[in-house]
Symmetry: C2
Amino acid sequence: MRPNLHWKPDRASSAGLARQVVEHLKGKIARGEWTAGTKIPPQRALAEALGVNRSTIVAALDELTSLGLLEGNRGGGTRVVNTTWGLLTASAPPKWNEYVASGLYESNLHIVQRINQPPPGLIRLGSGELAPSLLPQEQTRRLFERLAERPVPLGYEEPLGNLHLREKLSEWLRVRGVEASPSSILIVSGAIQALQLISLSLLRKGDAVLTETPSYLNSLQVFQSAGMRLRGLPIVNGGLQAEAVAASQRQLKAALLYTNPTFHNPTGATLDARGREALLRVCERERLPVVEDDVYRELWLDAPPPPPIKSMDRQGTVLYLGSLSKTLSPGLRIGWVVGPEPVVGRLADVKMQTDYGASSLSQWAAAEWIGGGLYDKHVATVRGELRGRREEMLSLLREHLSGLASWTVPEGGFYIWLTLAPDVAVDAGRLFDDALRRGVLLNPGFLYDRGDARSLRLSYAYASTEELDRGVRTLRDLLRGR
Amino acid sequence: MRPNLHWKPDRASSAGLARQVVEHLKGKIARGEWTAGTKIPPQRALAEALGVNRSTIVAALDELTSLGLLEGNRGGGTRVVNTTWGLLTASAPPKWNEYVASGLYESNLHIVQRINQPPPGLIRLGSGELAPSLLPQEQTRRLFERLAERPVPLGYEEPLGNLHLREKLSEWLRVRGVEASPSSILIVSGAIQALQLISLSLLRKGDAVLTETPSYLNSLQVFQSAGMRLRGLPIVNGGLQAEAVAASQRQLKAALLYTNPTFHNPTGATLDARGREALLRVCERERLPVVEDDVYRELWLDAPPPPPIKSMDRQGTVLYLGSLSKTLSPGLRIGWVVGPEPVVGRLADVKMQTDYGASSLSQWAAAEWIGGGLYDKHVATVRGELRGRREEMLSLLREHLSGLASWTVPEGGFYIWLTLAPDVAVDAGRLFDDALRRGVLLNPGFLYDRGDARSLRLSYAYASTEELDRGVRTLRDLLRGR
């Protein structure tokens, strides 16, 4: 368990630091926050979190051990073996360890958990989000000034989501070539929730899902947890090849094809219009539903990308996903699914069972952004910033990593896919650990392709220019074995 | 399918109404919003939604049928049988009907779907939410004025949720007898999401869950969809009886006990302090984890309720659920779970897979409400309002339903549990249909206890005083067979 402690001992107190730590940890055990069986954080992590010397922690843990509350094991870990109350009564709490290991949903990979909750101060060289400085603080403030003059949405929304937002989205999507009535749009809490709803609502255990290799899907547990099998096809000429899909589908009989054809996560690749058309026609012929994940579309850097596959959809084959998380604010948790009405209706019904709808506040804010044209203006600014960051990153790579790795050059989005040169001795797993020790958080390629130990997903969206520079230099040193 | 149409024909247009309706529906079919196999809404519902005469709908549907796009069946329903494109090419879309019938998650009961999306204008006599007039519009406006002066949270939050909110909650919970570090609190998108996370993260298919009969849980699919079996025990003296739980547990070996001991949904019952203590001790002895759903606690009307079961928890047996949905704003979608750190950590990890955290905007607003004491002031106002509404409702029941039904008298919360007198001929299902025809939406008791066809859940929280009066009179007429 990672420490999640915010308490600090009082240095002005007459009680010694070790005493205070003992009482604090005893309190956690007495309150059942650390139940019997809980593995406590390593000494070093505890010392850091509480801001005390490791010797203070050792003294405190020794005392708790002598009280019979903790026990060390040979591996060096320490567990809570008894609760304060249990000591008095010889009773035991529920077997939480067994519960925690149960459940349909797998845990996230340990490395994904670390990436989800990076300690402050790390250089995040692969994060799939905009830097805080690119989030529209000032405009949001003005938005809220306007909110203060109007009725605030506080009640439950319709199952499909706030109608005003869906109307605004319908207009906004039309400009992108996607014709969708408000009644065929479902508002979700980010595109990731759309994937969860699809897996819980439309698929059966054992169903195969076709996708790109590498794929963002592989870094999630969402389909795997619900018992689906992911099958990957290589990215050729910017995306999935229609013939490969047709050939694969004859054997596989997949239930769904998931694709991210525009500024692909993690490679940055984009499928051209002809490739999109061919892919859709094959899926139509095979009657294979398509989930088109299009959350990076607005972030084109050179020229607008080809129209969405959804814009060519003549029979309701495509479920189309969009989101504000990559362009405006991840914290809003607002995305959407466009698809046949019975399908989005089914997803909405399961969403009601899941969380009873997305935040009405977030939906209101999203409608204000999208409806008034503010959003398009903001994204134009972000594009300018990202353009500069991409150039910076590519120039750093050329300067420092030539000969050590090769990489893709994206036309939009956040990502560069970097592959180590054959003669570089380290693999991506080692690199992750070593980089972390030097303060750099990497996204290793095996998160997106389990069989690939030689790649990294880089992002120019999150870290500052200065951090990008330090991060790439660190990477260079590690690849050179320094 | 219920119509979810917002388009209306243009009465000023020179194109006839039927022509416009034909083109509109053809558009929906051409865009794949209504795919082949889609059952279209009944004529009456379509006419109402589009604001035209039924004869216009009949004419339009006839034309679409003659085009080969629609087909009526003997049951009177009409389906889309072909897409515009399919007619040209003899191709067919994915078999969405089969997909929609797949998935781990069951659909909500049809009646629950109707309750989730009530048509405007109905008197909602059982809705489990505050009337819009009780939501704090004005205070929220002022809150946003303050937000406009400060940095706005737009980024992703920690997996457990915004730290500032968890700190404020920790202080707020202490006053209620619940000692919880911020690290043992998980922010969720409403208490319903906590139940979903528990079912996906901690339980196994086939596990039994003990609860009250009737129980709010029975109106949800959340445990059932994940393959758990619900087992109910009667409510005696305000709640679950310790001895009954012990006896049942010897045979059942349930994995979890779910209880709502304070102003119970749907009966309004409250378990006294002694009963709580006894119940917890039995669960401790049986090592049976308890989920204590305490979302109505603040809404006491006569005197504060006994302290939470969680306040007596000495070993981390209890997962404690709270929420702002019943007291402040359902639309915020903010609730919390308090429990052992490894358990809330596991729930947080699955939440990251589900929706990547709750809206940061909503979390920010929740922290402002709870931290500054504003929330407690608001809830005091709501209590005053609900007190008046409860008296009003009870006096209406006495005046109109004496002899026709009996009912509970709640000490807090929203609900009155009404049971029909033995000589009343209608059952709750008939009553639901008949009341709906007269503009009154009821929550039949069988939603909460599948075996109970003679009860209703009434709520004095949602409908206006005038609506309560009309609603109860309508109920009286129906019970008298008028």
